[in-house]
Amino acid sequence: MAMRPKQCWPLLLILLSPELLLAGGSIAGRITAKEDTSGLAGATVVIQGMARGTTAGADGRYRIEDVPPGNYAVAFSLVGYRRDVRYGIQVEDGKETVINVMLTQAPVQTEQVVVTANKREQSLQDVPISISIMDATQIQERNSLTIEDALRYVPGVNITGGQVNIRGSSGYSRGAGSRVLMLLDGVPFITGDTGELNFESIPVGQIDRIEVLKGASSALYGSNALGGVINIITKPIPETPETYVRAYGGLYNKPSYPEWAWSTKNRFYNGQAVSHSARAGNLGVAVSFSRLLNDAYRQNDYLRRYNFFLKMREDYANAGALTMNFGLLYQYGGQFVYWRNLDSALIPPVLQKTDNVKSIRYFTSGQYNGVISQNFLLSTRGIWYHNDWGYETINAIGRTESVSDEFDLESTGTLLLNDQHTMTFGLEARYDLVNADLFGLHRGGGLALYAQDEFRISKLLTLTAGARFDFQSLGLTKPSGQLNPKAALLFAPAAGTTVRASFGRGFRVPSVAEAFTTAAVSNLAAVPNKDLKPERSYSYEVGISQTLGSLGTFDAAAFQSDYWDLIEVGLDASSGVPIVQWRNVTRARVQGYETSLKLSPFGGAVFCNVSYTYVYPHDLTTDDILKYRPRHVFYADATVRLKPLFFGGDYRYISRVENIDMELVNLGIIPDGDQRTPIHVVNFRVGADVDLGGTTLTATFNVNNVFQYNYVELIANMAPPRTYVFSLEAKI
């Protein structure tokens, strides 16, 4: 018996009646690929100036009903294809207007749709701030095991010890706090205790694309969005049933020096993933399971990870939709904090040889998008994120545990007032429960209100202005409020050219870990700081984006961020035992510029990205360079597609980090911790896509770090040597 929609969904997130009976005509038709006239399932159709749209079905057919009579512009888009906008489409009462559209393939997304910049779908060209996109194909071709691996090639982003640094906003905070906010399908995805980004909870195979928004974004996203936002968007559920199987295996090359060898066995890793998705009427379900077994190239750095992911979506008659995600992660492994010394770079100190970490994390999130009227769209989303992890060291009796639960509920309205004004406003509430051996028992949360207006002053000029007020208590002894304004201008003097300027204020409330950690790990002791205050920043950016015909796009931006009360880890050895404490110590300024070029010459057979970011991260308090911020970051990659083969390569250059935790070195805690070099990493890949009558088989062979360049991103943590990876995947 088929389940009725309202029986099978929890009602928690449905705050508003989704359906309003509307009258008028309809717009329908078929969207096909120009190359082979096949139907483009999943293509998006949006009536501009209205909160109305739909997606094309399996054969590319679409239909929007109950459209009031009038003259409209309708936009058609799909990832991988050039956006097409049809103007002057007449809709009459009781009649159907048929619009058939053929989209042209465009590997370089000059008209790509993004959702993070203003909490609604927009063309990338209409966004007044810097944003980069990495899609599933790029992640898949690189055989990225984790999301942070994939992010290593996003312009302006670099990773230090698994923590994300966007344009010099962050250094390394030892797993406590993040100046980058992570979203999962638009929902905040930050742990309640440490406030860090747990990328491993999201199976890489379920990612459709990653949007990286650069610069302070607290005016829309609140705390943590001080340096930027990473929005991980999961794959949509396809119209036709689909089964996906992937298996991969990797082999680490032998260490470069005999002194570094610590095992006579070859070190391998392997993983498997299987997922299935299907639709029954308006209900779509996707379920996936994956695991990763990593022997690791370093001693006591092994990892076993298991992910389960479930996504459900129910579509309603007038473009409303309810989406729910559930994810479960179980992982355990050794813990490699730092090397014994550079002569034994792949071995931890003796006392850390048995350290291990175990984590169980699960979340359930939901989002309801409803059309309230022709010009009002309401989105309500929420998450419960449970995070349980603990570690065991030789120094402690038993396991040190931390359990936290984060609840976040947000409602966002988008009101298309007229052709000139688009209002976005919302309310967000958050509550966290933390019970940890390290941090104690804490309850707290926050409440926020925000609003902004996108004012289309003329066809050439758009002004966006808004603000968000946050009241927060978690991580603070004294709860406090913060108003964060923002303003942005977008000027489009010619087709394909946009000039942008933006200003935003950011803030970040310290995480529970930063404020309340009491611990003794290895030969360090951490003490709480109950006087910790929120960090604040002002960010400014000017930029220009230029499409280069059908070849690609060029983008350049200059930016500056001023920080107050920046929280850094301080080390005090005056009492004899080195004491670690997070403190508001720094007034800082980060200036820089970024250029990026995306090109796909030869009809899209070649796809290249080149980007360069210069950052001057100045600690104004000490007149020094901020820790763990490289000045120069250069990425280049190229992929050539000669069907069915594809091959390509990446090059990553990161200049030598000028300042690190030298206190740890000077006190003799981390031997040779000052040893670091510029980073040069080269990867190669080759693969083939084979169509076996309904089953697409993809085989990929990667060689990462081809030249076996030995480097560290984090103090005393040697990066992987040359690695050979073979993967096989089938889509049925």
Partner: protein, 183 residues
């Protein structure tokens, strides 16, 4: 637009060439490797305005973890270092001839393998000069390791594991001696 496209192709070709060259050059360098260094520090002691030879009985380098601030005699401090090695290091060791006299400069090297030096921060590196016959009392500093030759404020030396710190130089002017922190 065609010119723009042509220009961008040239730009791309150059950028990829630069990237490939940098990747090759960077790749040829293997990056980090084991360190085959001793642990300690070395430098040169420069002398000027020597006093008469009969006033130069002995010269030794003394390395203190903290600047002596009490009224102990140097001998007491040295005896204390025997029971707690590493806090004060004497070079050359007692029982061996001291540093050369009446020379313009002399080099030295102090390592953990050749002395009681330890991996730690030493805040006071001083050339001790015995100016008279009393082995227990006639000592005073002749020069210190400093970053400021005007104030002669002692500068620290951080001894790190398997690092031979260089240029720990001391400039001695016998007509302008640093303060004496011991009795």
């Amino acid at each position: 637009m065609a010119r723009l496209a042509s220009h961008s192709k040239r730009w791309l070709a150059r950028a990829l060439f630069v990237a490939a060259a940098a990747a090759f050059v960077g790749g040829c360098n293997e990056g980090l490797g084991p360190i085959y260094e001793e642990t300690g520090f070395e430098g040169v002691i420069h002398y000027s305005n020597w006093p008469p030879l009969d006033q130069v009985w002995e010269l030794r380098l003394l390395v203190f973890d903290n600047v002596p601030s009490d009224s102990s005699s140097l001998l007491q401090l040295l005896l204390a270092s025997v029971t707690d090695p590493g806090h004060i290091v004497l070079y050359p060791a007692l029982g061996t001839p001291g540093l050369p006299k009446l020379v313009d400069a002399t080099s030295y090297k102090l390592t953990t393998s050749g002395s009681t030096l330890q991996v730690r921060r030493y805040n006071y590196v001083v050339l001790a000069w015995r100016y008279g016959p009393n082995l227990f009392a006639d000592w005073r500093p002749a020069g210190v390791f400093t970053y400021n030759q005007t104030t002669l404020e002692p500068a620290p030396v951080n001894v790190r594991n398997r690092r031979l710190l260089e240029n720990i130089d001391i400039f001695v002017d016998f007509t302008r001696l640093p303060p004496k922190p011991w009795q």
